[in-house]
Each structure stands twice: as C-alpha cells, then as structure tokens.
C-alpha cells in the first residue's frame, strides 16, 4: 500500500530534522502515481502535489510515527480538506415545494438516485413527487414508475409526446395542487457537448426553478470527469454532486477532480442498486480509498 511504499522511499528521512524539497521529491512522485492510478485528473493531481509540496517543506520529521505514515497523513488531510466542505443534504426551501433537478451523463445512475431520494425523503415523513422528464431513453418513464411504486412514492408521468419542460411544468402544478414536497426531477442522460440536449435541460431548469441541481457522476469515471462536471456547472450551475456505484472497486479519484474543478460539495454516494443504498458523503473515507 501507499504507506508501505512511502516508508521505503522515505527511509533516509530517519535521523533528519526536517522535510526538504530534496528528501520528499521521490515521495511526491509516488503520491502522484497513486492519485493517477486512482483516476484523479492529471492537471488536478499536478496542482494538488504542488500544494502538498509547499505544505510539507520545512515540517519537522515526526518522531512518533514512520516517515511514510507522516507523509500519508499530510496528503490524506490535504485530500480531506479539498473534499470536505459544503452542506451534506439538499437545501430545503422555506416555501414548499422544494425542487431538485437531477442531471448527468448517460448511465451514471440518475433515475435510480431520484427514486433513492424519494425513499429517503418519504422516510423523513415528507411526500415526494418524482418527475419522469426523460422522454428519450426507451422505457425510462416505466423504469421510474416501477422504482417509485416499489418504495411507495408517487411518480408524475406527463402527456405522451410532451416536451421535457412541459412535463416539468405540469408536474409542478400537480405538486402545488396536491401538496407534494419535495419535487425530484429525473432527466435524460446527455453529453455536455450535445448542444441540443444541453438546451433541453436548460429549459427544464427554467421550468423547474430548482433549489438544488445535483450532478450525478459514476465513481469509475476517469480523466473526463473534469470536462463533464465543468460543462454542466457552467451550463446550469450545480449545487451538489452525487457519486454513484461506490459499492464497486473504483478508487473514485473523480471525486477529487469534480470537487477541484467545480468547487461544489459531494452530497451523497450511491452504494448499490437497491433503493436504500444511499449514504451521505464521508470525505475521510473517500480520501483513504483514493490513496489506496
């Protein structure tokens, strides 16, 4: 593991007084390698390492832990700091209904997340309405209906042939009329470089006026995480990020990349296909996982 590798790299630190540019250069390369293996974006990793170098130089060599442990702690704490700030649940509106818009690339786990959020808020005693605004994917609306039914949460299905934003508008009328809260809107997966689809989701956003826009990203996403997250943030303004499929063995470096490039907090992680498989985000656990 990284600590063991760094112990080896830093063994000549024993008996030295301070961490210096020279004696940690090799260790920093090891850490950069670990970050890249974990899919942290190349430029983000470079910047991160530069910050760690700045922080580490001049520090006294610890007496009570091994040099590897000391160094990993510096890196780990820095990762936690980068990942850590921001609120951990959606922002509930003072005037209901609270409106949540769920967006992201194809297959990232949005529809499943919408239903998971429905269950979560129903268990909190609320009365959520899930809105099926994916008019593109075959059987997407059926999928959300089946999921909603499985957890006793109402799903709004629009008129056949209606545009996504019309469905959103009609759903809000329904929500206000029948006192549903929160309203959670599922949208089709889309590429950030598909102008037509980015236009569609901008229109859905206009219709929904969401209190919370959540970007759903697959934990196994590699270098591209910075591109898509940044583009969605610039197009829509994101309030939070959800990292899905964390029950897999992806290291999850995308969390660092997305956080670094958008500054937005990771609010939840998906840890399974079942609708109760939603956890709040723990930066220290994700940091340890990334470092391997």
């Amino acid at each position: 593991n990284l600590t063991a590798r760094l112990d080896e790299t830093l063994r000549r630190l024993r008996g030295q007084g301070k961490l210096s540019e020279a004696n940690i250069a090799e260790a920093l390369r090891e850490v950069r390698r670990a970050l890249l293996e974990a899919d942290v974006n190349f430029k983000v990793a470079k910047e991160f390492i530069a910050e760690v170098r700045e922080e580490a130089i001049g520090l006294a060599v610890a007496k009570t832990v091994s040099p590897g442990q000391q160094f990993v702690k510096i890196v780990h704490d820095h990762l936690v700091q980068l990942l850590g700030t921001g609120s951990r649940d959606i922002a509930f509106a003072t005037k209901p209904p609270t409106r949540v818009l769920v967006v992201g690339l194809q297959g990232s786990g949005k529809t499943t997340l919408v239903a998971k959020l429905g269950l979560r808020y129903r268990q909190q005693g609320r009365r959520p309405l899930l809105v099926a605004c994916d008019i593109h994917r075959p059987a997407a609306i059926d999928q959300l209906e089946v999921l909603g039914k499985s957890v006793g949460v109402e799903v709004f299905r629009g008129e056949s042939g209606a545009a996504a934003e019309e469905i959103a508008r009609d759903a809000l009328d329904r929500a206000r009329g029948d006192g549903f809260d929160p309203v959670i809107v599922d949208t089709a997966g889309r590429l950030h470089i598909d102008a037509g689809m980015m236009q569609e989701v901008a229109e859905v956003k206009k219709a929904v006026k969401p209190h919370e826009v959540l970007f759903v990203a697959d934990a196994m996403t590699g270098q591209d995480a910075v591109q898509s997250a940044k583009a969605f943030d610039e197009a829509l303004g994101l309030d939070g990020v959800v990292l899905t499929k964390m029950d897999g063995d992806a290291r999850g470096g995308a969390a660092i990349s997305i956080r670094a490039v958008t500054g937005k907090p990771i609010k939840f992680i998906g840890v399974g296909e079942k609708l109760n498989a939603l956890e709040s985000f723990h930066p220290d656990r994700v940091a340890s996982r990334i470092l391997g």
Binding site: L105, P138, D218, M220, G222, Q223, D224, D249
Partner: protein, 279 residues
C-alpha cells in the same frame, strides 16, 4: 501537439499530459513515454511530427491487429453472443444496435432478455427489438436469467436464427454472487454446445478510468472475454484504458458505440482510435 514545434522538455511534458488524459493509465503511459525517450536519446526526434509518429506507432503496436468480424461468413447457426459489463455501460443499447446491423444484412436475429432484475430492463430491450426487427425471448421479471437464456437458445435453434444476442443485467465484478450468476449463463450455453457462447463481449463505458482494467480482469477470469465494446465515444472521453486491457489480457476492442441511435455502432479501427487520442 501542433505542427512545426520543436522537440523539447515542454513538448514531452505536454505529450505526457495528452496520454494520461486519454485514460491510458500509469503503466501504458510509462511504456509509451519510455519508447519516446528511447527515440529522443537516439536523436531520431527532429520535429513534433516525429514524436507523433513514434506515439502512433507505439500505440498501434500495443493495440494489435484490427479484430475479426463478429459474425463471420459461414458461422454455425445460431451464433451466440453474450454481452456483460457493469451497470449503465450500454449493454442493452448495444444489443439493439447489433440486432439492427445484422437484421439489415438479412440475418434472423433473436435477443434474449436475460436482465430479469432491473426495473423495466425487459421493456427497454423490447423497444430495441421492435426498432431493429429482431425477435425477443422474455420471461417475467425475477425469472432465473439462465432459464431465459436456455429458452432463447431453444427458440433460436427451432427458428433457424443466425444470431442470438444475450442481454445481461449490469453487475459489478467485485460482487461474487453476481459474477456466479453470469457464469451460470455461460455454463447453460456450454452444456448445450461446448463452442458456446461464441463471443463474450465486455461493454465498457468510454468515460471509464482505470477501473476498466479491473472490470476486464474480473469478467475475463469469470467468463473468458472475446472482446470489448467501448461505448459513448461520441463524448469527450478517449477510452484509453482499453490499451491496458489488450496488453495485459489480450482482449481486443471489437466495436465502438458512438451515440444513442440504432445505427450508432462502428467497427473498431485502431488507427482512428489512436488519432483521436493524439488529437
């Protein structure tokens, strides 16, 4: 890597960035960069064009030959192709595209709805079957997937189908029970005919990072893969992880998904793939 630049450290740094950002991964990047440094030491890099040529050559060498066709001439009937992969990679959509492609060639195609778990998975495949003109074999949700596959094979043989495409549920390779389930599908086919399945394709999402190699290792050990379908290459991701999948496991990319429509499927062309990475 624009034309006319001279070869210096700044350029080599940029090359490193381009390779890493293509999701090639540490091992493959180091391998390619070593080949480049070797050429630099031997004074064979005069201009950026030389650098690009070396990179292209090395990446093509790692990727190997363009793969054989999925449905070769004179293949025994039915040719059985199983698609596996992690959740959301694009298996069901790819089956629709394959059904359309071979349907258009006049082949009789049957699709097996062996994802009996996920909400509306069978309905989703049914839409693709309809659009592509393929026949679908399906059972109620919750049925043993292997039973659906067995049913579908029986139907394919009875109807003289040319091609049987098996859709499976998304599954993470680190889940032993799910991997056992997909191994059972393989066993059912093998028992019916030891040459089956003729192809087992791992569908990998183009945005996947190094986890793609772990996915390939897991599915290859469980199933024996004959190829990879790399999807969503119409996005900005480069899909470079497939280089490591080829060099470590010998599993080649067979097809590329380039969109969500029925005809958005292409044969894998190594040269085009490499040129995309090198920009």
């Amino acid at each position: 890597l624009g034309a006319g630049r001279r070869v210096d450290d700044a350029l080599l740094d940029e090359v490193e960035e381009v390779l890493y950002e293509a999701d090639l991964g540490v091992e493959a990047c180091e391998q390619v960069l070593d080949a480049l440094r070797e050429q630099a030491r031997a004074q064979r890099l005069r201009a950026v064009e030389d650098v690009v040529a070396v990179l292209r050559e090395e990446l093509l060498r790692l990727l190997g030959e363009p793969p054989p066709p999925l449905l070769p001439a004179g293949a025994t009937r039915p040719r059985v192709i199983v698609l596996v992969g992690v959740n959301g990679a694009g298996k069901t959509t790819t089956i629709g595209k394959l059904a359309a492609r071979y349907g258009a060639e006049g082949k009789r195609v049957i699709v097996a709805a062996a994802d009996t778990f996920r909400a509306a998975a069978i309905d989703q495949l049914a839409v693709w079957a309809e659009r592509s003109g393929a026949e679908i074999v399906r059972q109620d949700p919750g049925t043993d997937p292997a039973a659906v596959v067995f049913d579908a094979l029986t139907a394919a043989r009875a109807r003289g189908a040319d091609l049987l495409l098996v859709d499976t549920a998304g599954r993470l390779h680190n889940k032993a029970n799910l991997m056992a389930e997909v191994q059972k599908i393989r066993r059912v086919l093998q028992r019916a005919d030891p040459t089956m399945p003729h192809e087992t394709l791992l569908v990998i999402d183009g945005v996947t990072g190094q986890n793609g190699l772990l996915q390939a290792r897991g599915f290859h050990a469980a199933m024996g893969l004959t190829g990879v379908v790399l999807t969503k290459l119409d996005g900005t991701a480069k899909g470079g992880v497939v280089v490591a999948v080829k060099t470590e496991l010998g599993v080649p990319v067979r097809l590329v998904g380039v969109g969500e429509a029925l005809d958005d499927l292409q044969d894998f062309v190594p040269r085009a793939f490499v040129d995309e990475i090198l920009g």
